[in-house]
Symmetry: C2
Subunit: 308 residues, 2 copies
């Protein structure tokens, strides 16, 4: 196979109480990436969008992933990649993870699927390292595997797919900048044991809710006493959106990744749309531009759309 | 109904990474409690064992539970209870919880089951308050409901039964004293965020392992980076027992409750017995007296044995 087109979904990391360990893939938005095999060891990046991301491979998320694969191969293989990004960089719905995961999956596909899922995740994590300074997998894993994933451990890498109910997801991306690195910086290095206990009760509840398809338990468990109180300060209107979305029937939700996007889970499309209206009303009133998505959990992850 | 006999199982709280939120009931050992309804508002406690526990109701775990029920009733109802304790006080396998849970379930049964499970747990928690100074439910809930239980939250009380695989449990109780209150005292009030993240990854993994009946995942998730490193110092031979039991095939395990008992989970009886032998060998060599139990997860909880 000489070329391949790949669809890379947006993802919501953390899932409120699951900081750094949980994530889920969305049906919308998606990036499109087209890969070609080259017979010299270089990476060529072509941007097909308006984001002006760096095209030097060492400074590009997809680029560093492809370079790490080439290093592993140690031969004359190279890659050309066209990136058509629809997931806005800095939105908090896994824009860098989509590039990183897409690069790893696309390259692996061209190479005849020689790498395992764990290896693909490892390659893709090099992209997250470039983007945020940290080799985290809570966007990468759901982007590649689809559905909800648990990163039980990074060292050693232990990714557990969590069967998830067919929930609707509403996302609002207010057009303000929150840098992942900054959002990490403001977190306290230490937390109260009693808060940690409350958090791990909620995480256990959330995972149980997913596995038992218990919507009420999912809703009750979507509580974050550690990260959200600190990070939500960076997101205008956060508390109002959260409380009004729950009044509108959403099960619950919170900051997507490190923000500024906010997501809410709902049992059905009508509630997901009512939730979207709440989000629009708040940001219209605050005079902040935004995008919204009403979508569902994507159980497939990165998809090979075509290849020849 | 005028009298009732109740069997109250031992329990393992915390389950390694699930400090204060997880617990499970055992088939062995059990306390036996016999209750009679009295027509004057008093509590009479009769000890049928050698432990010399206090018989003043205000100082007795079962007594304070019965008093709290009488306070709720506000009439002339009273209770006589004979306690035949087999779960040694201070063993770390839920001796006080068995008395507290047995008292609440037994009294409720005599009263015609007028209270809900949540109310029974609330009454029983008064006994834990007396025993350890803290109203915790991680022994109470599995003692009453059986199986593995998650206490997602204490305020408000939110108890989630977790379907659990048919695992064997080996317990060793070295005859040394570790007071629950002391074991709480030595814990740090603050923990590193990175340790908390590792812990909640393990908790999510453990719960997922139970729900998916994935023994390997259960084993990998039985890791505690927060409580065990501090508390295990109080238990002679702990690290040796843990590593040798895993070599003998146990999935994993750790401190039962606040100790000094240590428990291990195994897939089958042969491994559970090999694990028991490891425990015996270590304490024989250290010259410390002990009891051991090879048992299974008790899915029923407190049981009404007979009544008339």
């Amino acid at each position: 196979m000489k070329n391949v087109k790949v669809k890379c979904p947006g993802t919501v990391a953390n899932l409120v109480c699951g900081f750094d360990i949980l994530g889920m893939a969305l049906h919308e938005p998606n990036d499109i990436m087209r890969f070609k095999l080259l017979d010299e060891p270089k990476v060529v990046i072509i941007n097909k969008d308006e984001f002006n991301l760096p095209t030097e491979p060492e400074k590009n998320v997809a680029g560093v992933v492809l370079l790490s694969i080439m290093e592993k191969l140690g031969d004359n293989t190279g890659f050309e990649v066209e990136i058509e990004k629809h997931i806005k960089p800095g939105s908090g719905i896994g824009s860098s993870a989509a590039s990183a995961a897409g690069a790893a999956v696309g390259a692996n596909h061209l190479l005849g699927n020689i790498f395992s899922n764990d290896e693909i995740v490892q390659f893709a994590m090099n992209g997250e390292k470039l983007a945020s300074g940290v080799k985290h997998a809570d966007n990468i894993a759901p982007c590649i595997l689809g559905g909800v994933t648990l990163i039980r451990s990074i060292h050693p890498l232990d990714i557990i797919p969590i069967p998830s109910p067919d929930l609707y997801v509403t996302v609002v991306h207010p057009q303000i900048e929150v840098r992942t690195a900054d959002a990490r910086q403001i977190l306290r290095k230490q937390v109260l044991l009693k808060d940690a206990i409350r958090q791990w009760g909620n995480i256990a509840g959330l995972v149980t809710g997913f596995l038992k398809n218990d919507h009420d338990l999912i809703g009750r468990s979507l509580e974050d006493v550690i990260i959200e109180p600190v990070r939500s300060i960076l997101i205008p209107g956060f508390n109002e959106i959260k409380s009004k979305c729950k009044e509108a029937g959403a099960l619950g939700g919170g900051i997507s990744g490190s923000g500024p996007s906010v997501f809410m889970l709902s049992k059905n499309e009508a509630t997901a749309k009512a939730t979207e209206q709440v989000m629009k009303d708040v940001y219209d009133r605050l005079g902040i531009e935004y995008n919204t998505y009403v979508t569902t959990i994507n159980k497939k992850g990165v998809e090979i759309v075509s290849g020849e």
